[in-house]
Symmetry: C2
Subunit: 208 residues, 2 copies
DNA sequence: GCGAGGTTGTGAAATAATGCACAATACTGA
DNA sequence: TCAGTATTGTGCATTATTTCACAACCTCGC
């Protein structure tokens, strides 16, 4: 283990996979597992799993394996999902609405605590159990909500201006569903989710 | 250029980014660009862009750069998105509905031609302009539709059984939104889209 | 026609990620 | 107690990916 070296991005991404799998095992009352079980369950190489964990300390016992509950808790702590994470959602369209209704978010401790839009027709309406608020008041609203994470489901034309507001409102990381590159300060991290891009990769593999 | 060597996955993924960006430039009547422009516009290193293209041939002219329209067309051809790609969608819930209504799909030549569900209450209803069909009849339906691509937006508990049907119906690639690993034959390619995992990566970066 | 300035395509170097292999450790049963 | 079997954590070899650096090429203006 070595806390000084920065953790590779692929390791971080796999950590989420492990965590989801461990949650599933816990639900099924599995108490113990080995790295070989991880390989069977997730398709990720057993040595890779052990190496990934080694960035953060020691988690298992030689000859024994890992305790499912402990490992789940410790990975949750590393990923900062051991407590509820408040999340803002901007863009109350079809996709935004679908995300708010997505049961996985709550299950994994991401709670959408505020929904915003720029469209006067949407502002004030209900989206599930949330009131859609005016995106122009997002800074004000987030003084109370104190979210650091935002999900962006606006059309690409609005994405940059909304992003500027989010940064101003104290948002530190953004999950961007708009198919466009966002310009943010160094300190803010953006991850893109692009269905089109996923589909093009798949499309390429047809008949080749 | 070397057609014998298999193209790295990261290259393939970036190809989609280039293609989207080229479409945008075309819309803005830009005729010519250099690899340096790509770096500015997409954040991807200029040499990386040139190397990526080199897997498929020569595209630019030394001293000049690239023709936007030509490059767009040639990348579209490589990705097999130069013609309309028919797509099946299984799972007529919130997320499925949002995807059908997502304008980006049509714009980039992915046309959802059939929607399916297992729930009798949904079968027969309309989703936008599509009739929701019985997933048990998907093979039959796809004999006419001839889609090779499927999007899966069912709950994890149903994912594997639906996947088996999709494979049986001649689907070759699957975009999986269900948060679970799918078991498919060698010849079928699956890509996972997992919001939770994206959020955990972002969450990790809070305050570190 | 030629030099200056710009740009590609690509071999080679540098960097990053993965997977092997093994010492160290733990349990089980005879 | 000890042999046999299982499993971790990690150094190192391997493989994959990115980036550098430069020859080859193109245009323009004088």
């Amino acid at each position: 283990m070595n806390r000084e070296i920065k953790v590779p991005m692929p390791t971080l991404e796999r950590l989420g996979t492990y965590w989801k799998y461990l949650n599933e095992l816990e639900d099924n009352y599995v108490e113990t597992l080995s790295s070989a079980n991880i390989e069977t369950g997730t398709g990720i190489n057993a040595a890779q799993f052990r190496k990934d964990l080694s960035y953060f300390g020691e988690f298992g016992r030689p000859g024994i394996g890992y305790n499912v509950h402990d490992l789940q808790k410790r990975i949750a702590h590393i990923l900062k999902v051991d407590k509820v994470q408040p999340v803002l959602l901007v863009g109350a369209g079809n996709l935004g609405s679908a995300l708010i209704g997505y049961p996985g978010l709550k299950r994994f401790h991401f709670h959408i605590v505020g929904a915003f839009d720029i469209d006067d027709k949407k502002i004030g309406s209900k989206l599930w159990d949330l009131d859609v608020m005016d995106v122009r008041r997002i800074k004000e609203a987030n003084e109370e909500l104190e979210a650091k994470i935002a999900i962006l489901t606006v059309p690409p034309s609005a994405a940059q201006s909304v992003t500027d507001r989010l940064v101003d409102a104290g948002i530190k990381v953004i999950l961007n569903f708009a198919p466009c590159a966002l310009h943010v300060p160094e300190s803010v991290l953006v991850r893109e989710v692009c269905f089109i891009q996923e589909l093009t990769v798949l499309s390429y593999h047809l008949s080749s």
